[in-house]
Amino acid sequence: MAVTTHNRPRGTVPEQPSLLYRSEVRQVIYQALLIGGLVFAGWWVVNNVAENLQRQNIASGFDFLDRTSGFDISQTLIPYSNVSTYGRAFWAGLLNTLLVAAVGIVFATIIGFIMGIARLSSNWLIARLATVYVETVRNVPLLLQLLFWYFAVLKNLPPPRQSVALTGGGFLNVRGLYLPAPVAEPGFDAVGIAFLIGIAASIGLFAWARRRQMQTGQQFPVLWSSLALIVGLPGLLHIVLGAPLSWEYPVLRGFNFQGGIVMQPEFLALLLGLSIYTASFIAEIVRAGILGVPKGQKEAARALGLSNGQMLRLVVIPQAARIIIPPLTSQYLNLTKNSSLAVAIGYPDFVSVFTGTVLNQTGQAVEVILMTMGVFLTISLLTSAFMNWFNQRMALVER
């Protein structure tokens, strides 16, 4: 696409081509046409929408966000009821999407890494099993898998009165997974503060150990001491204060279990579907990342006398991470976007609540769809901003 350059022998007078044949002029014309076309198309669409709305007396504008919604949402992270506004329904839905995405990302990453490493296992059977998993799951539509989990698997769980009792006071039935909820009693704040102090101290310790290693070459067992600080300190305090944390167990009352933490089957199905599906892609990324580290690197690490663990931690993982993380991030983004399929199985995610119910109740399709797209674009732009920052940080420093 390089601009044609006119390299002529010095001295000859270039014959001036007609204005239309000069590439600069033509480029200006092309671009002007493009802009003109886009502006016209934009004007045409906006004009049509405005005309259609006005002629048919359809409401427009964003005032509806302050109006009372009048419907309920089955699961919300912020206080919400049918007297809340549409604007609040927007946030309730968005938070539900972020919740399922965040939990899904954690599970997908864990399953994906295990499967990716299993595919490279020297054990033939394990590698085969992982391959079968990846090839099966990747080649079936996610929507089908969600419907499968929801309508074919979770639907066959027992009704509330014949719930499966789990060890530790949880219950599983067709209405969801009921787990005991921790209830903080007076004094528990101290444990929380101790936890925060532990984290802060670990960060300080890490910095100090690094500096010391740089200066003296001596290593300090940072991992174990941080664990002791983060887990041990609050744990000790917890015991000293007489365990100021009790559990609220779910109890069958009326139609349903009451109390405890409820994970609705819609949430479980979405979580299962999203993590298992995305994990099959992550497994391939992990495999490619590990295979992408040249064999010579490992051999060099061995020659230096590094132990197996040191080799992985100091040589293989940092290099594999550089290959893995960019496609991994785009898988995370895909998972977040795919969570919009919740609409098919009734989980109240952002698309289901806002682009579904709110759109239907207000009839303001243009505003609602534009806002929906705006939200997803924001999430994806933030992710790519992070990616760029990360790539710059991780870029190979060639010396």
Binding site: Q27, N48, N52, S121, N123, E135, L341, L381
Partner: protein, 372 residues
């Protein structure tokens, strides 16, 4: 004499070394090399046993094979309910396409295969004519056959359904996405800033939003974009949106191919005095597209799976029609849903897995070409 001597020497011989070939050696090497490996193998065997025995007993041993309605599947064991698939098979394939006209769909499939199969075989000659057939002649034939007109009865699109809709959406989607994707990829690498910004803006916008919102846009927003009285068929609206959506992903794949073409090729084309369309059409694109065939096939696999989303806007693709038939009260049984989903999953899997194998085949062939 000599016999005893031989016996003595045999008795003193050491046992032969472990064989390094043969199944036993292979198993020792790959399954039981260390204690931890043996443990993993045992766990793996158990998992494999659970999966295989579960699948076999569900799909074969405990399955119901005959029956006129769901009651046949309710009694006894909880295996698959195959008569359900049998009874609904033609619906799963054609939707509500009128029975008397279904030969038109079959004929379209045959015409498509007649062009596609030789086109996909690298050793068949005459690719140019095949391409012309597939790109110019077949679409017209397919449209006339499926929709009707010129003597054939018109079958409106709301009667289309099942695998037919899945294949139509996927193939029209990719065919429409191709030219747009090429233009976007060229635009993104253009040295005209406005063209570049517009292409980048479009690609990033589309890649940033989920397909489902784009489909919602097609079903509730697009109609308001058109002047009063203009309407577009619902299926066509979905097709346009699917094509635009995949075009953005395809553009990124093609851009990868364009970047991989050595600079010398561009310069050589310039030196020959080729104009931009000639340079791209004759020199760069043929090479770039060939490089990214696997990527294109992967995009197509993604698109093929994504066609199932049209069920959310009320079109009945394969999954949509399966889902709809699950509510048929005649076929109510505990295993109907599972059977329906497994059947649909199997159909999708065969297509997607087949395509991914084809893409790997092409990749290997290309790699072999590169090594030369």
């Amino acid at each position: 004499m000599s016999d005893t001597a031989a016996e003595v020497s045999l008795a003193k011989m050491r046992p032969p070394p472990h064989s390094t070939t043969g199944p036993a050696a292979w198993m020792r090497e790959n399954l039981f090399s260390t204690w931890s490996n043996t443990l993993l193998t045992l766990i793996g065997l158990y998992v494999a046993y659970l999966a295989i025995s579960g699948a076999v007993s569900w799909a074969f041993l405990n399955a119901t094979w005959t029956g006129a309605d769901g009651s046949a599947c309710t009694r006894g064991s909880a295996g698959a309910c195959w008569p359900f698939v049998q009874a609904k098979f033609s619906q799963f394939m054609y939707g509500r396409y009128p029975e008397a006209e279904r030969w038109r769909v079959d004929l379209t499939y045959i015409l498509a295969l007649a062009g596609l199969v030789p086109l996909m075989m690298p050793w068949v000659r005459g690719k140019l004519y095949l391409s012309i057939y597939m790109l110019a002649i077949f679409p017209v034939l397919a449209f006339l056959l499926l929709y009707g007109g010129v003597g054939l009865e018109v079958v409106t699109t709301e009667l289309w359904g099942g695998l037919l809709v899945t294949l139509v959406v996927a193939s029209v989607g990719i065919a429409g996405a191709f030219p747009i994707g090429i233009l976007l990829a060229l635009g993104r690498r253009s040295n005209m800033p406005i063209v570049r910004w517009v292409s980048v803006g479009f690609i990033e916008f589309v890649r940033g939003v989920p397909l489902i919102t784009v489909l919602f846009m097609a079903s509730v927003m697009l109609p308001l974009f058109l002047p009063d009285g203009w309407t577009i068929d619902k299926l066509v609206r979905a097709l346009i949106m699917v094509a635009l959506f995949s075009a953005a992903y395809l553009a990124e794949v093609i851009r990868g191919g364009l970047q991989a073409i050595p600079r010398g090729q561009y310069e050589a084309a310039d030196a020959l005095g080729l104009r931009y369309p000639q340079k791209m059409g004759l020199i760069i694109l043929p090479q770039a597209l060939k490089l990214v065939i696997p990527g294109i096939v992967n995009t197509f696999i993604g698109l093929f799976k994504d066609t199932s989303l049209v069920l959310i806007i009320g079109l009945f693709d394969l999954l949509g029609i399966v889902q709809q038939n699950l509510t048929d009260s005649n076929w109510f049984s505990p295993s109907t849903a599972m059977t329906g989903y497994v059947f649909a999953g199997l159909v999708f899997w065969i297509f997607c897995f087949g395509m991914s194998r084809y893409s790997m085949f092409v990749e290997r062939r290309l790699a072999a070409g590169e090594r030369r």
